[in-house]
Amino acid sequence: MRASLFITCYNDTLFPQTGRAVVRLLERLGVGLDFLPAQTCCGQMHANTGFRGEAYSQAKRFVQLYRDTECVVIPSTSCVAMIRDQYPGLFEELGNEDLRRQLLALLPRVFELSEFLIDKLGVEDVGAYFPHRVAYHASCHGLRGLHIGERPFRLLNKVRGLELVPIANLDRCCGFGGTFSVKNAEVSTAMLDAKLTDLLATEAEYCTALDNSCLMHVGGGLHRRNLNMKPIHLAEILADADDRESAR
């Protein structure tokens, strides 16, 4: 099987280790990966801040770039939610009929990483080993946007050595919300503090998620407060552990 990796702008720039882990993981599972170097951003930040025209120019770019690919894998729930939930409206308002048809044909071939593993490849046990205590943070876009459901738990439960600990108020937002964290920094901080309280109660070593944007928020909060828990993208747990040590 071939898949094209859309790494997303912020993973590319800030969290390349997640991208490397996705490559290791998927190649180990026999997927032939492509990476189109012309890719940049899905347009989520612009759309969610109200810059609709700008978001559309990036959405158009995405569709033109990926319309002929077999399938697209994206290690970010919020970027997939942007593409799935917001692109149709944007194209309806700003696009032409041709582009809209191309988008609708492409959408069923766009997968978030855990969707790709479970729905497309049909694997739960990816042969991972991660002997640590881990709490899973459900990103809002994964939970309520993609209805990602049990997928991450099914993957985590098959990781050898991993102890998965439940977190209270799993469905409550960490307070990131993209530019919300800057525009409403104080409220965002209060929400983060509530999330950190719930996270710390788990006594986990790692907090994992399907979205590095939540993890950047949670991780930045943990680091500022000198707390020991470390953020880690699910892809990095599912890739193999020895590799991870040297890669980080």
């Binding site: 590319d12 390349p16 490397r20 990036q58 809002c140």
Partner: protein, 485 residues
Amino acid sequence: MSGPVMDPRIAPPFPQAALPILQNTQLRKNVAHATDVIQAKRNRLVAEKQDWQELRTSAAATRAHVLANLATYLEQFEKNCTAAGGVVHWARDAAEARQIILDILLEEKAGEVIKIKTMTSAEIQLNPALEAAGIAAIETDLAELILQLGNDEPSHIVVPALHVNRQQVREIFARRMGLPELPDDPQALTAAARTYLRKKFLSVPTAISGANFLIAEDGSVVIVESEGNGRMCLTLPRTLITLAGIEKVLPRFSDLEVLLQVLARSATGERLNPYNSLWSGVTPGDGPQKFHIVLLDNGRSEILGRKVERQTLQCIRCAACLNTCPVYRQTGGHAYGSPYAGPIGAILTPQLEHMRHAQSLPYASSLCAACYEVCPVKINIPEVLIDLRAQVVDQERNEGTRWTDPMYLGMKAANFAFGSAARFRMAQWFGRLGLKFFTDRDGWIRKLPNLGSRWTLSRDLPGLPDQTFRQWWSEREPVRGKESK
């Protein structure tokens, strides 16, 4: 102490209004506790309905159908309400509605008026207008009474005094009712309120109410409540004035079957509200002998005309979105600077203000979509929030101030960078170079200037790694297909 500002035209922007509340530990504790209690009840009662999703679908369909045929149903309501002896008034905006109500009260020679269940009267700033005309407005909903006596403002759509706890209620009653010995148990407090209000119910001949629903087919009005104080207001006075937004209409009496179910379960976590009052016009010898209803537009027609925003008017004011909102949980209602707080307030208020005020409200959300999930009439609040943000930005595109707004400039710059891979690579390179200056030896950024300082207010940022993913990929590409590192 001056109370919170609840007029969106003069209220400070949300981030600023939230600041003093974030410092108010007691208020935040009260809000978190109360919303937890209501949510637990709501979740239990929703879980017991096997067909909850079907009920939501049905309720949403009814409300959407009404909005698609609003003129028809309003005219039906007017005809049938008039036939039943009611007097129907149409108010284009807040000023017209205030004037209509004032004229009726002057004709009645009213010096006092009792009020129940009317958030819409706060929307049109009715109480200050009554006061200016020398008419004393007495709130009779227990929570509203607490707030009125405490010079406070509502912070929740269903439980207006949710931010006040029992000890605080005792203090307000003791001071304002002259009862220094009043204990703080619920029985004593409600008994004090009953004694206080009963005198008003028996002596004031004029009342103002809101409405939960208007029924087109028979011209009747519906109010649901928990205390029975509403029932008193609706039955004892000689003259009753009801103020209702034009979106409140339902086609048939039988539509209440679904809507009263989803409303009670979503709002208070009850199978049915304790008091469901319905009346049609006037009945000789029974209840108010004069009934006026003021149908308020105040921006609603404009909302109705917008494809995405129209769903805002489906709202039945259950406040489930407030109770589940992680932002509301931290700030309570006063930060929204409007009678309508929480996620629904964040979309409704700026639209009622024709997008000329309250422009910070569409941004008062992390777009977590918890509100959409619980909404009994399926209002896609995040979708509307995003659409309103686009309206705010489109306004800014024509303003000179955009060239000094770091958010605007940043967004335009980012858009330019995302326009081609070469430009994006260059932006990554410059970004890394620029951030190096702020990166500590351990690879973390603790302090950033300008907008970045809003992030580093409470969060560190990992410094940019030396190699982007795309650099790593282009270097490994020649060995692709083999086991690689």
